[in-house]
Symmetry: C2
Subunit: 233 residues, 2 copies
DNA sequence: GGCACAGCGATTGCATGCACTTTTACGAGA
DNA sequence: TCTCGTAAAAGTGCATGCAATCGCTGTGCC
């Protein structure tokens, strides 16, 4: 077809498709249950069906889309039950990360974690939800990295990405920002004094609260017509 | 080409390829670091390159193969460090499963677990390694299922499959069979009395021991020329 | 003698086409 | 009118072909 890719330009076409489609799922632009037609997607992104197929295969392996032989792909629909299961897993994984972080972080990592955390207090005062959410992601990533365990890191990041669609709006709850910061504070304090058990427990509690905060939004849009596929902004 | 698939015959061709190639990796028939040539694989299984490519993509997402753009795919090579990380994760995951199992298993599940476990005592007496390994897999699967958490189950099974190549020979260590059964017994006992903490700790210890037992074999063949596909000497 | 670059072979990446499966729409019979 | 059957349409699954990229080898230059 037309010459060049006009996309984010990096990696192979398949990688771009994985990101493009994955993002649209994670950000909720594509709704759970929505049908993913190969031809439409290919046309939408101006590529052939082959890379689209491969991308769908990988997204399927990631759990973001469901695929039934000869029946096409749909955005993975998560039941309330499965969602709870994922949040529960997330809590356990974060607990492990926090515990390991308390036991294994280098002095430099501890310092970085704490200073970033302290700096973020400003964001809370300002009520900067956007910025705080970005910091929040960073904060948790530090915890995952601090565990010094590649596999745990992979499992955790994977689970987080699957939960992403359901966590978007958590900071819109009133007062959530300040509470989140305080919860982080408990975790950081425990990590700084090397108390793995306390750090783990605090992290688990933290996620559990996020889980409950997000449960509200899980109820909405279990499916919905297909207005989406058109152009965005 | 020739007419019918001669393979395990189930699911799509891609699924068959994923299983076929995955099995060869998991069973060690394909060595870590070995190059996976699309054309060769396609010829080997008498399919076109397309399903092979898709299968490699999925195996890559599973972590069994590594893929660099324009440079082909190789069997994922796991460093000693990463292997330790995976065993560590496995221990944590099994601990979670055992803990949840102790708290959540239905009466029926508990009964089944215990009776299977008791039945397996015979296998130990007979020294039936093959059969015991099969039972062992079943036993652990029961634990994963008993956690009643789909996502934890998925994470655990995924991790187990990645560890499979390194666990094959564990029961060849002298006396391992009996020890394994005793360790299982501790787990079962804790689960039967609903003691989550104890079950979790016992499961973690169990995996840790397996980890050490397997470490011996991890040292061998971190790679190896590439005698496999063609002539050697 | 060593290094750099150009040409060539090998291999991957993507597009297109055809076969097969599923789904849907329509019509005949009860 | 409802049900069942059948056939067309849609959409997926796989094969094949071509373009692009990587790696290697050989040659020229320093």
């Amino acid at each position: 077809m037309s010459g060049k890719r006009s996309l984010i330009r990096s990696g192979t076409t398949v990688d771009q498709m994985v990101r493009a489609i994955g993002d649209r799922i994670v950000t909720g632009f594509l709704r759970p249950g929505e049908k993913l037609d190969e031809a439409s997607l290919a046309a939408r992104f101006d590529v052939s069906r082959t890379p689209v197929r491969e991308a769908l295969g990988r997204l399927s392996a990631m759990g973001l889309v469901e695929r039934r032989p000869n029946r096409g792909a749909t955005v993975a629909v998560v039941t309330q039950e499965h969602l709870a299961s994922m949040f529960e897993s997330m809590a356990e994984l974060e607990a492990i990360c926090a515990r390991f972080s308390a036991e294994r972080m280098t002095a430099g990592e501890r310092r970085a974690l704490e200073s970033e955390h302290q700096a973020s207090a400003r964001l809370v005062q300002l009520g900067a939800e956007e910025d705080y959410e970005y910091f929040n992601t960073e904060f948790h990533t530090r915890l995952y990295r601090g565990a010094h365990s590649k596999h745990i890191y992979e499992l955790t990041v994977m689970t987080r990405s699957r939960l992403a669609p359901f966590r978007r709006a958590q900071f819109m709850l009133p007062g959530r920002l300040a509470k989140s910061w305080q919860e982080h504070d408990v975790i950081v304090t425990a990590i700084m004094r090397g108390d793995g058990a306390a750090a783990g427990q605090a992290a688990k509690d933290h996620v559990s609260i996020v889980s409950e905060a997000s449960a509200v939004f899980a109820a909405v849009d279990p499916m919905k017509p297909a207005d989406s596929i058109g152009m965005s902004s």
